[in-house]
Structure formats: structure tokens, C-alpha cells
């Protein structure tokens, strides 16, 4: 067989990685290449070096080491029984490619994942070896995110954290039943165990760092995970609860949601309607509500309908507000921060500006209009010096008044 060129393999292995939602390169410690031999820096915030027409940011060189796989997960394009074109890189090739892209300022670093070849341990060794070459031979100080293989030996997985800024372990599906059905070679307990072990290792290394200045850094950007949305029967409420448990239990930095996407050569166990992309968006919004707006998972679930699904036509914050109208209107001149954060249409920045501006003036509707994107959406939910909604929050057609033009919105996102 004729070996494919680097660029041919790059195309195959990037194509295979495109279903992975994560591309973040933030949250790690600050460092740069001064005083070293190599290149690279991280300054806390990640940089998106380009955007693809799917609206997603390209920050890292996101690749699979190989898309050969001995596993047979039905939602996965690389599963054993799929007929996709296969390719593989050596760790050295991936390291070299990363460096030559980085030198041209195309990327912040590498996000490496892999199909399972030979066995989980061997695969994990290869991933770790790639990171080792980058760090030790190239003295690379940019960002490295390694996807770890839960079934691999814990010691090898541990080593990943010594080289990587972030590690992730995919929970794959929000329910155990979904995992059993769609990822027959995976095991929920193994995945959970691997996350727990990783969390312990991260915590331990942080403690050591406090006591010894030269303790090795260990996955400073923490761990994240991804789950596939819409491939099993899990409702949004199930998903939100699962995510919230993961944040709490294993102290994950991020939970990514990936709307199940039509994949070439898909398994027929997935003859499901593709979930609308907007569903993934609503889940991210609900994630935001929990992480930045003080909502509990239970409250997010309250925003969902009886079937546990978040409405697609309006965002979860508005949905919650429409259900709990007694919490409104909120007086922007007096209400505490927590109450302002619940006003649909007010973001964290808008709330911050209101809090700072109201120390100097009594805010009028006009002032709010200057600080926010759309005062029309806010009006029914707030009280200002010159405005008090009288019956608005009781009106049955409130949703129609404040919701964006549903038809248009769905057109934009669905497809």
C-alpha cells in the first residue's frame, strides 16, 4: 500500500476530529518561551486563530493520531465497522506539524485524540509520547490538550497530565443506558473512575505546588468532558443534571455538548432525527446560567417543559422568567445583583454596568437602553425611575411580545 502524504493524512485525521466540540485553549498557567530553546506562550486567555464557516473557533490543531479503532461505538464515524478512509500519524509527525503551524501563528497548540489501536494502553502511550516530544525535545510552551482513554492503565493516563495543560475524558452519552446501547465497548464505571483518578491527581499536584515551588505542574487547565446530545433518549433536564453532577463531583472545568451530527457511514442504530443545532445552543445557555448566573440545576430543569426539554424558540433564561413571573418586575435601581442577573436580556456585563452606574444616578429606561442590546426585551421585566410595567407580566401573550421572531431564528440555526 502506498503511504499517504502528510497533507493527505492531515485531511483525513482532521476530518475525523471535527465532531469534537472542544477547542478551548484557556485557563492554564502563564508562561512564555523566554529563557528556553523553543517557542510558545500562554497568557491565561486562549486565542482563536481562525473561525470556520460552521462558526466554530480554531484555536488548536485538533487531530486524531489515528482513526483506526478497535471499538465499535455507533455514533462514532471511526468505529470499527465504519468504511471511512483510514490514516495514522506517528507521534513525531504530529509534534513536527504542531511546531511548524505554531511558528506561523496559526494555532495555540495541539488537541490530540485518537482511535483505539491495538489496545487502550498502547494508544495512550502514543498520545503521551507526542506530548513528551513537544515538551522535552522541542521545548514547546504552548497549549496541549490530550484526550485520555479511560480504559488505559491509570499510570499512563497520569503521565498525560504531566505534559498536558488540559486532559479530557469523554462521558460520551448522558445516560448509562445510552452508553450501553450506543457504545457497547465503553463502560460508564470505567469512565467515571478515570475522571475521579484524574481529579485526585490534579488536586494532589496543586497541593504539592503550594508546598514545593518546584513540584511539577499537572494539567493546570484541569479536565473537561464532552457528551453527545440527541443520540439517545436523554432529555435536556437529564443532561443538565448529569453535567451539574460532573462539575460538582469531578470538578470539571467544562462540559461540552456535541449535537449528534450525521456522520458518513453512520450506524443504523441511530436512525434518529438529527437534533436541531439550536438544542445544543440551549444546553450551552443553560450551562452558562448555572456557572455565571446563579441558577441551580433544578431551576434550569424548571425552565424545561414537562418532557424535560428546554424550549427551542426562546432561551432558557426567558423560559424561566415566563414561568416565574412573580419574581418580576425587578427594580434596576434597587434590586440586588442576584435578582438583576435573572432578568432576561441582561448579561453579566450589563448587570455590572447597572450596578456601577446606579451609584451615580437614578436610572431611567433611556439609560438602560444605552447599556443593553435591546430594551424592548427587558421592559416587561424591569422597573426604572420612569417605567413600571403594569400588566405586562400578566399578559398571556407575553412570550410573543418578547421572544425573538421564532421562525427566523430557527431558520438561521437549524439546517
Amino acid at each position: 500500500m502506498i503511504q499517504k502524504t502528510i497533507i493527505e493524512r492531515l485531511k483525513v485525521l482532521a476530518d475525523a476530529a471535527k465532531y469534537d466540540a472542544s477547542c478551548a485553549s484557556s485557563g492554564t498557567n502563564k508562561r512564555d518561551s523566554r529563557g528556553g530553546k523553543g517557542i510558545g506562550s500562554t497568557e491565561g486567555m486562549g486565542i482563536c486563530h481562525a473561525y470556520a464557516p460552521d462558526g466554530r473557533c480554531i484555536s488548536l490543531l485538533k487531530l486524531l493520531l489515528t482513526n483506526h479503532c478497535i471499538f465499535d461505538c455507533h455514533y462514532c464515524v471511526n468505529r470499527k465497522s465504519s468504511n471511512v478512509e483510514r490514516a495514522r500519524f506517528t507521534p513525531q509527525e504530529v509534534a513536527d506539524l504542531t511546531i511548524s503551524f505554531y511558528k506561523r501563528n496559526y494555532i495555540e497548540g495541539l488537541f490530540l485524540s485518537s482511535g483505539i489501536i491495538r489496545n487502550s494502553d498502547h494508544t495512550m502511550e502514543q498520545l503521551v509520547e507526542t506530548a513528551r516530544i513537544l515538551r522535552e525535545e522541542h521545548d514547546f510552551r504552548g497549549y496541549i490538550h490530550l484526550k485520555t482513554i479511560p480504559e488505559a492503565d491509570a499510570e499512563i493516563v497520569r503521565r498525560a497530565g504531566l505534559y498536558a495543560d488540559r486532559v479530557s475524558i469523554n462521558v460520551e452519552l448522558p445516560t448509562v443506558a445510552g452508553l450501553v446501547r450506543l457504545a457497547p465497548d465503553k463502560n460508564a464505571q470505567t469512565i467515571d473512575g478515570a475522571m475521579g483518578t484524574m481529579n485526585d491527581a490534579i488536586t494532589e499536584a496543586r497541593d504539592a505546588k503550594k508546598r514545593f515551588r518546584h513540584a511539577p505542574r499537572y494539567a493546570p487547565a484541569g479536565q473537561s468532558t464532552q457528551m453527545i446530545v440527541g443520540a439517545d433518549g436523554a432529555s435536556d433536564a437529564d443532561i443538565v443534571n448529569r453535567a451539574s453532577a460532573l462539575y460538582g463531583q469531578h470538578r470539571l472545568r467544562r462540559v461540552y455538548y456535541s449535537a449528534f451530527s450525521p456522520i458518513p457511514d453512520a450506524s443504523a442504530v441511530l436512525p434518529l432525527r438529527r437534533p436541531p443545532l439550536i438544542r445544543e445552543h440551549r444546553l450551552y445557555q443553560s450551562d452558562w446560567l448555572m456557572r455565571f448566573y446563579g441558577y441551580s440545576p433544578g431551576e434550569v430543569a424548571q425552565a424545561a417543559g414537562a418532557d424535560g426539554m428546554l424550549p427551542l424558540d426562546i432561551d432558557p433564561k426567558l423560559a424561566w422568567a415566563l414561568k416565574f413571573r412573580e419574581s418580576f418586575p425587578v427594580d434596576v435601581n434597587r434590586a440586588p445583583k442576584e435578582a438583576l442577573l435573572r432578568v432576561p436580556g441582561l448579561g453579566t456585563r450589563g448587570v455590572g454596568q447597572i450596578l456601577s452606574a446606579r451609584r451615580h444616578r437614578t436610572l431611567r429606561l433611556d439609560d438602560i437602553a444605552k447599556l443593553t442590546v435591546s430594551v424592548a426585551k427587558l421592559r416587561p421585566f424591569i422597573v426604572t425611575a420612569d417605567w413600571r410595567p403594569v400588566t405586562l407580566t400578566d399578559r398571556a401573550d407575553l412570550k410573543a411580545l418578547v421572544a425573538p421572531d421564532a421562525g427566523r431564528q430557527l431558520d438561521l440555526f437549524a439546517a
Binding site: 518561551s33 470556520a52 462558526g55 465499535d72 506561523r104 465497548d185 454596568q353 439546517a415
Partner: protein, 476 residues
């Protein structure tokens, strides 16, 4: 003449700035103006290369001399921070705006916190635009490797919208400390030799290299990492406005990627045999649908789909591999030699076949033509997986408490993965709906064996069937 008299006389001042982004210079001039009590509308600030000739440029170019005992202007640290960013904005009005805020801060020291104030908002907007440009330069600047007598050397051409070049120098030297590079812009240039940074004059695009072989790889990556099933052009444009595209090698691919996306998605969907239809809810509907099925190549052969048979609501579902020659001709499952053998053994253990729902993992007969004979071919894993859709439809309608899968294909159809019959037989496997799966060999396997091997396998087969019969009784 005192400063106060200046004001009374309506004097105005022209303050020429030597550099467009030098905060220290602005601060020194502004401090002096405040101390000399010059109101904002009496000053015209000009920058090098900026437009000249408005009314005020005829004003006094000498800076006023403040009173010896004039108080130093006071500002908060927050103002200083924002002002350092605003000074880099390309709007010629920025110096005047900053001065106006500085002036107002003297009588209202906490004005800066009033986000609803027009001047404060204008400052915040300018600062945000500058920060964005700083960020976009770090993101969208592309180095190209050039020939150089001392080895690797990288040159970038970038067109910033604000005066951010000098501010960003630190970022690039920290990141590419051990590389040698130049950044060329229409507003000036930076040169780093691995040790020292040198500022140079403005450049033109013609001074910059035009290509780099690695760009071909980068474009290949960019096109491949994009998922055509998720086209969101608005989201892309919001973060990567068109104005930056011309100097980004990958951006030239965007029009064709967008144009080709729908075709690519359609190809992905059809290659994936994704189906948008609902699962049929009656056995009749399944029967009708499988006759029209061409999701895998087997359905395209000259054959007829064979539906399972038996009562809906049967407590036992028996699954075989696929219809054979006889089944295909008669349109009924398990009527050939293997079916007849099955009947004998079922009767022995006391299972009434008529009370069971009997079906196959694959609905069409897969064969190769040899002369007049059609030779049985085992279905591939992929074909079983595709047909699993139909078996599951049948199972969800019949809702058996117990499923007997005969052979590896049937087991795969139930479990989604290949299991070893030897290891899986003889014990119940719980299915997701709570029902029990039992696995055994396919009766046609017994037909292919001879002698002692056949006896041994027949014994095991009967043993499995007996266990199933016992479980059925227990469940009933």
C-alpha cells in the same frame, strides 16, 4: 497674561502630538492644560499625519504656563487604565475625548463609574475596539518563512485598524522568543533577532513575502476541520469580520466551503443512510416498509423481504440470521431445513412455535449466484447494524419478555456488538428495556456438522432451549 485671562479672552490652543499612541506625551500635555484651567472646547489636538486645518489649528501652539500654585489634576487608576488603551484608537477625536473626561473628573471624581454617561460610554467603546484589534492581531497575524542567510526567518504582514503595533510587541517577543522575525504594517514595523527588538518604518504589502509551502497544509486542515452539517456563517463573521480576511491564507477558501457545504452534508447524510422517518408502529407497517428498504446492498439483490411472524405480544421472540433460499421464495421465516430442525427441537423442550414471534436479524436473503443456484452469504456487520432498525421496530411492538438470538448475527442485532456464542450462551443477558436475551447457536450450524461434533452441539443447543423454556415458564 494669566491662564484665567486666556479663557476669558476665548483663546484656544493647538496641541500637536508627536506620536499617535504615546500615553505619556498626552498625559504631560493634558496635565499642563488642566492646571492652566483650559476648558476642553478650547483645545484642538492633532496627531502626526492627521487632518489639519480646522478652525482651531490656527490657535496658539505654545502650551500655556500654569500658575505656580495650581493644583495637580487627580484621576483614578481606572481612568488611567482605560485611557492608556483609548490612546491607541485611530479616531482623531480620542485625545479631546480623554481630555474632556479628565476635565470633568476634576469636579466629579467618580464620573468614571457612570457607565450610562455619554463620554464614559464613548471611552469604553473605543477601549473595547482597541482591545479587540489587539486580540485580532495576535490571532490573525500569519508568519511566512523566508530565505535568510542565517537560517529560519519569519515575516508577517498585518494591517491593524488602530495604533496597536508597539503595544503588541511584547506578546510576540514572549511567544516567539527563540525565532527571528519581522512584523510589517502600514503603521510601522517590528524586527526581532532573538535578542533585541527594533522598531522600523511603515511598510507596504509589497515588502512582505507572498507564500509559504506550509500554508497549503494549513488550508487543508482548515477545510477538513469544518463540519458542513453545521453551517453558521453569522457566527463566523461576528468573530472574524471580512476586513481581516485578505491577509489570512485560509480565508480565501471560505466562499467555496460555504457553497459546497450543502452538497457535502447531503452526501454525508446519504452515505450514512440516515433516516428521517419515524419508526413504524405496527407490524403491518414494518412489513410494508422493509419491502421498500434499500439501505444496504442486500435489499438491492433480486429477493423479497421476509417479515417475522407470530402474535404481537408474544412472550418469546426468536431471532435468526437471515432468510435463506426457501424463506425468500415462500416469504416466511424458518421454513427451510434449518427451520424444520428448529421446530423439532422446540417441540422437544415444549416451546410452542406458534405462540412465539419468529424473525431474522436481516430481512433480505444475501447470496451469490452460482449457475442456477443461489449460494447463502453471511451478512456483514454493517448490514446487520443497518437492519437492526427493523428488528428493533418489531421488538418494540411485540415487547417479548425473552428474546432468543440464534447465532452471532442475531446476537449482534440485539447487542450492537459481536459476542462469542460459546461465552454468551447459557445465561440471561439483560436488555435495556428489562427483557432477557438468551444466546445460542444457529440451527443451520448443527446441519453443517457431522458425527461427534454434531452430537455435542445438538446437546448444547437442547440444553439452551430447555433453559429458555424453563425461564419462559418462570416469567409467565
Amino acid at each position: 497674561m494669566t491662564a484665567l485671562q486666556h479663557v476669558r479672552l476665548g483663546a484656544y490652543h493647538v496641541v500637536p502630538m508627536a506620536a499617535p499612541d504615546d500615553f505619556g506625551e498626552w498625559r504631560d500635555h493634558a496635565r499642563r492644560m488642566v492646571m492652566a484651567d483650559v476648558p476642553p472646547d478650547r483645545i484642538a489636538w492633532t496627531e502626526p499625519g492627521g487632518p489639519a486645518g480646522n478652525l482651531f489649528t490656527h490657535g496658539d501652539r505654545r502650551l500655556p504656563v500654569p500658575d505656580r500654585d495650581a493644583a495637580q489634576p487627580r484621576v483614578s487608576r481606572r481612568f488611567m487604565e482605560i485611557a492608556k488603551t483609548v490612546i491607541m484608537h485611530s479616531d482623531p477625536e480620542r485625545f479631546g475625548l480623554l481630555y474632556r473626561v479628565l476635565w470633568r473628573l476634576q469636579s466629579k471624581p467618580r464620573l468614571i463609574e457612570d457607565a450610562a454617561d455619554g463620554d464614559i460610554r464613548a471611552m469604553a467603546d473605543m477601549a473595547r475596539a482597541v482591545r479587540r484589534d489587539i486580540h485580532k492581531m495576535r490571532a490573525f497575524l500569519r508568519f511566512r518563512e523566508v530565505e535568510h542567510e542565517e537560517g529560519e526567518y519569519f515575516v508577517a504582514w498585518f494591517e491593524p485598524f488602530h495604533h496597536i503595533l508597539r503595544h503588541n510587541a511584547g506578546f510576540f517577543t514572549r511567544r516567539f522568543a527563540n525565532m527571528r522575525w519581522s512584523i510589517l504594517t502600514p503603521r510601522g514595523s517590528l524586527h526581532w533577532d532573538g535578542e533585541t527588538l527594533r522598531e522600523g518604518p511603515a511598510a507596504t504589502r509589497a515588502d512582505a513575502p507572498t507564500g509559504d509551502p506550509v500554508e497549503e497544509m494549513w488550508r487543508g486542515y482548515y477545510a477538513s476541520i469544518f463540519n458542513p452539517a453545521r453551517l453558521k456563517i453569522g457566527a463566523m463573521l461576528k468573530e472574524m469580520p471580512r476586513k481581516y480576511w485578505k491577509n489570512m491564507p485560509e480565508a480565501q477558501l471560505i466562499p467555496e466551503l460555504v457553497a459546497g457545504a450543502q452538497a457535502r452534508e447531503a452526501a454525508m447524510v446519504s452515505a450514512g443512510a440516515m433516516d428521517e422517518e419515524e419508526r413504524p408502529e405496527t407490524l403491518d407497517a414494518v412489513d410494508k416498509a422493509i419491502h421498500a428498504c434499500s439501505r444496504c446492498p442486500i435489499g438491492e439483490l433480486h429477493n423479497t423481504a421476509v417479515m417475522g411472524e407470530g402474535p404481537a405480544g408474544a412472550p418469546l421472540m426468536i431471532v435468526g440470521e437471515q432468510p435463506g433460499d426457501n424463506e425468500d421464495l415462500q416469504g416466511r421465516p424458518f421454513v427451510g431445513p434449518a427451520g424444520q430442525l428448529l421446530d423439532v427441537h422446540l417441540e422437544q423442550v415444549g416451546i410452542d412455535r406458534k405462540a412465539a414471534y419468529v424473525t431474522n436479524a436481516v430481512k433480505h436473503f444475501k447470496y451469490v449466484q452460482r449457475g442456477k443456484r443461489r449460494l447463502h452469504q453471511s451478512p456483514a456487520a454493517k448490514e446487520i447494524d443497518i437492519c437492526r432498525w427493523w428488528v428493533e421496530a418489531e421488538r418494540s411492538i411485540v415487547k417479548p419478555g425473552l428474546v432468543l438470538a440464534m447465532g452471532a448475527s442475531a446476537a449482534r442485532a440485539m447487542l450492537g456488538k459481536t459476542v462469542s456464542i460459546t461465552k454468551a450462551r447459557g445465561k440471561p443477558i439483560e436488555l435495556e428495556d428489562g427483557s432477557e436475551l438468551w444466546v445460542t447457536a444457529h440451527p443451520s450450524y448443527l446441519l453443517r456438522l457431522e458425527g461427534a461434533a454434531r452430537e455435542e452441539q445438538t446437546r448444547l443447543f437442547d440444553q439452551d432451549l430447555a433453559a429458555v423454556a424453563a425461564r419462559l415458564k418462570a416469567l409467565a
